[in-house]
């Protein structure tokens, strides 16, 4: 009986302690090198705090995906022209 209970308890604890991060991947995208990178339309870049997007056309739009819990952000140029500045 003790063994059965031990087995059930262990199983439940194992299920309860599953890797919560398995469905929450980090932000996707190309990691830009230090300096300035000319952004290509519809290409995804991963960005970190301190990175900057500087517009090079009057109408520049981007799509940003931000993952919560400090998992980062990614950015896509969807209109215009811009550079990505990484320090």
């Amino acid at each position: 009986m003790k063994n059965i209970l031990l087995f059930i308890t262990f199983s439940l604890l194992t299920i309860g302690c599953g890797d919560s991060g398995s469905n929450t991947p980090d932000a996707p995208g190309i990691k830009p090198e230090k300096g300035e990178t000319k952004m290509i339309l519809n290409k995804t870049y991963s960005v970190s705090p301190g990175n900057e997007v500087i517009p090079k056309a009057s109408k520049t739009r981007i799509k940003v995906t931000h993952l919560d819990s400090n998992r980062g952000s990614s950015v896509q140029l969807i209109e215009g022209s811009a550079i990505l500045k990484v320090k």
Partner: protein
């Protein structure tokens, strides 16, 4: 030995109880008000000359109610009107759908509807009859709900739809939705307890999903129900809603979409001349 048995039995009972308590959350009955016009009530153009019995009008409401029931959620639809009580399987026919009404008409009565039915959640699909691009009516509806919340101390989650297109694509509705998106995004970024659902593109209605130029048929209403359902089961995440405005001034942000499943927020924004620093 006896002590150990008691210890392990207690651990097992704890896990079983936790599981059951977790499950009981989904059995909480939530008061949901379907608010809108004929697309909420179910009144087609054919009903003007050869009306179907009111007892059989359901629009998206029955399909949504079945989806919620099947997912284990007890939904109490509320409103001063009733339509669809004779369909099988039965569902809650209460609603606040008013065929032919403009958003201004709904705005005039919104406060009364709130005090009468005290909903936890409002599903708002209005504007098809406005036949103009102004969203002033919806702005007033949301303000009226704000006033009700302030006076009553009750919180209401408002799920606002970018409205479905007509069967023949309509430029007025396209512009109306664009303006509505701006208004709702601004409220979302301010931390308002609202959600935007995209019935315009997101419901995926095609020509065959319409009973006439304005109203969906059963298949179209099922598609709408699915969009409402997905919004209803998505938890509210204030932190993610407000995140984009911490990166760029909200006047530049065009749209915000929170995905509770991946715990992420996606936003489209214009880049100000000074750039955006993450």
């Amino acid at each position: 030995m006896k002590q150990h048995f008691k210890f392990y039995a207690l651990i097992v009972l704890f896990f079983i109880a936790s599981t059951l308590l977790g499950a009981s959350d989904s059995n909480t009955t939530i008061k949901i008000m379907p608010l809108g016009d004929s697309i909420t009530y179910d009144n087609s153009i054919a009903d003007l000359t050869d009306p179907r019995p009111i007892s059989r009008r359901t629009a998206y409401r029955s399909h949504l109610w079945y989806m919620l029931r099947d997912a284990g959620y007890g939904a109490d639809f509320v409103g001063s009107r009733s339509a669809g009580w004779a369909v099988t399987p039965p569902f809650d026919p209460d609603n606040e759908g008013h065929p032919g009404w403009h958003s201004d008409d709904i705005a005039e009565k919104t406060y009364d509807y709130m005090t009468h039915s005290t909903p936890d959640i409002v599903l708002l699909h209005i504007g098809t009859n406005d036949k103009q691009t102004s969203i002033a009516g919806i702005r007033t509806i949301l303000r009226e709900i704000d006033t009700y919340e302030e006076v009553s101390g009750q919180s209401v989650r408002v799920i606002v739809a970018l409205i479905i297109d007509k069967q023949e694509k309509n430029n007025i509705i396209r512009i109306f939705n664009k303006k509505l998106q701006v208004l709702l995004t601004s409220r979302l970024l301010d931390g308002d307890n609202i959600a935007i659902v995209d019935m315009y593109k997101g419901a995926g209605l095609i020509t065959a999903d319409y009973a006439d130029n304005l109203h969906p048929n059963t298949n179209g209403y099922k598609k709408m129900a699915k969009v409402w359902f997905n919004a209803l089961i998505t938890p509210y995440n204030l932190k993610l809603n407000m995140y984009p405005a911490t990166v760029v001034d909200k006047s530049y942000i065009e749209s915000v979409t929170v995905n509770a499943k991946t715990n992420s927020v996606q936003y489209i924004t214009a880049v100000p001349p000074s750039g955006i620093k993450f």
